[in-house]
Structure formats: structure tokens, C-alpha cells
Symmetry: C2
């Protein structure tokens, strides 16, 4: 967690369940218009194969937070869970613009990453950070436009 | 949050960022075999239209936790965020078997729910709880099999 202290994202008081409230000067959860289409948010389903570092929760949390920053998203909360003995990590970064999540299977060098962003943020801007952090042999990206109106 | 106290899921010590560690007697993050297919986990992308209660973080957290329990998943952590003035809610329940997340746009009566589960849990078992809680006029469900090997 030390690595994240520089980003101001480490708390000394972990807890398990919580609700917080934010008053945004400008509401960020608006629908998006792109390519003549109106939708709630762009959701990238990213499957990583032959990836590295998948049993390292500090590396993973830093990567996901940096991925959020790369897309100019606002981090509200993050939580990462390290499973033993497998070494797998599950984690989520809750954003003002939706979320980034990861689940890793280090024994298979596989990870499933979701990057879901509404508003002006483009989740594709997060991909170079994910690729650089985990150096996958193969990265499959599927874009789903959630809440598509037309 | 009072409603969740009965489920033993409320902490008095909220924080913003955290990492926890769990030693599972039996590792739960194994790949799944179903319909002659081997994959890491089943991920349902659920879009709700004409839905109710989307500006109520207590109702939403209870619904998502009950949805996890309905699929026999193990809840590790939950976090919900209430945006003002829109009333929208973003939240996630981290599971031993992956996660359930929600992002709501109450002004459009729209919500995007993700139910991602590995292991023996079937995310479809969560859908009746989601439908009963939010009473959507329309619910679109798309299943993605993440980490599909063959």
C-alpha cells in the first residue's frame, strides 16, 4: 500500500462495508453521445492472457488507479482482496464515472478487467496503463455500450 | 444502513481505500466447466429500464447483497456511493466469487448492473432478486463468459 501513499489513496482505517455521499458541483452521471448514438456509459470487458503480476495486490491497485487517472476519471474508493493460497486478487476502483474492476487467476496467468465509464471519460485511455502493468501475451477487448437509447 | 445490520454487513468505521487478505480453506477462484465450455466466470450485463428505487442507496445495497446470497456467493466487502443532487448511486459488492456492481441514473429510470461470478455460483440466480427490488419495465440481460478457453 505504500506505493499508493504518493497518490493520496491509502487509508489507515480499513473497514468492510460502507456507504458514502458526494455532492458533485456538476453531476457526472449524464448520458453520452458518440457516433450518433446516445448511451449511459462505455464498458470495456478486457481479458488478459499470459499476464504478469497477477498475485501482487499492490501492483494491481496501483495499475488500476493509474488507469483511472489516465482516463481523467475521479477515484472515490478502492478495495482489493488477496486470496490465499491461490494468490488471486479481486479488486475494484469506484469512480465518479462508474468503476474499474479486476479478478485474477495467477495460476492461469489470466485476468478479467472491466473499465466502465460514463461522462466525458474514454475507457480506452486506460488500456495502455493496463497493458504496461500486466504485459499480457494477449489482450481481448470487447466494448459494450450500456444503456443504449438509439 | 440499519437494514443491513441484520445481515451483519455494516461497519462503523468507513474508509476510502483498503486492501484485505483472505485465506480460503478451499480456493474459490477456479475455472468453470459448463455446456462443454471451460471459462473463468459467467458475467451478466443487466440493463434495467423504467426501474424504481434508483436513488435509494439503502434499498440498492440491500438488493445487491441479497442478490449475492441468492446465488450462494460469499460477500467480502461492499461500498455504495450516493451522488447529489442527481440522486444516482454507484456501488459494488466484492465477492469471493468476483463481484456485483450497479450504477444508476434515476433521472432516466435506468440502471446498469453487473453480476460476475466464478466457481459453482450461477449469477442467473441473482436476477429474480434484482427484478423484485427495482421492478423494471424492461430488463436486458447479456451473458459474457469471461476467460473462455474452448
Amino acid at each position: 500500500m505504500k506505493a499508493l501513499a504518493q497518490l493520496g489513496m491509502v487509508s489507515e482505517n480499513p473497514s468492510e462495508n460502507q456507504t458514502t455521499q458526494t455532492s458533485l458541483g456538476e453531476a457526472k452521471d449524464y448520458f453520452v453521445e458518440k457516433d450518433g448514438m446516445r448511451f449511459a456509459g462505455a464498458h470495456l470487458l478486457v481479458d488478459l492472457w499470459g499476464a504478469q503480476g497477477l498475485n501482487d495486490p499492490v501492483l494491481i491497485e496501483r495499475a488500476l488507479c493509474e488507469a483511472a487517472v489516465a482516463a481523467k476519471a475521479s477515484i472515490l474508493h478502492s478495495h482489493f482482496h488477496h486470496f490465499l493460497p491461490s494468490g488471486g486478487v479481486s479488486g475494484v476502483v469506484v469512480l465518479a464515472e462508474s468503476h474499474i474492476s479486476i479478478h485474477t487467476w495467477p495460476e492461469c496467468q489470466f485476468a478479467a478487467v472491466d473499465i466502465f465509464m460514463c461522462g466525458a471519460c474514454d475507457p480506452a485511455d486506460s488500456l495502455p496503463v493496463i497493458e504496461a502493468a500486466f504485459r499480457p501475451a494477449r489482450m481481448a477487448v470487447d466494448e459494450q455500450r450500456r444503456g443504449r437509447i438509439a
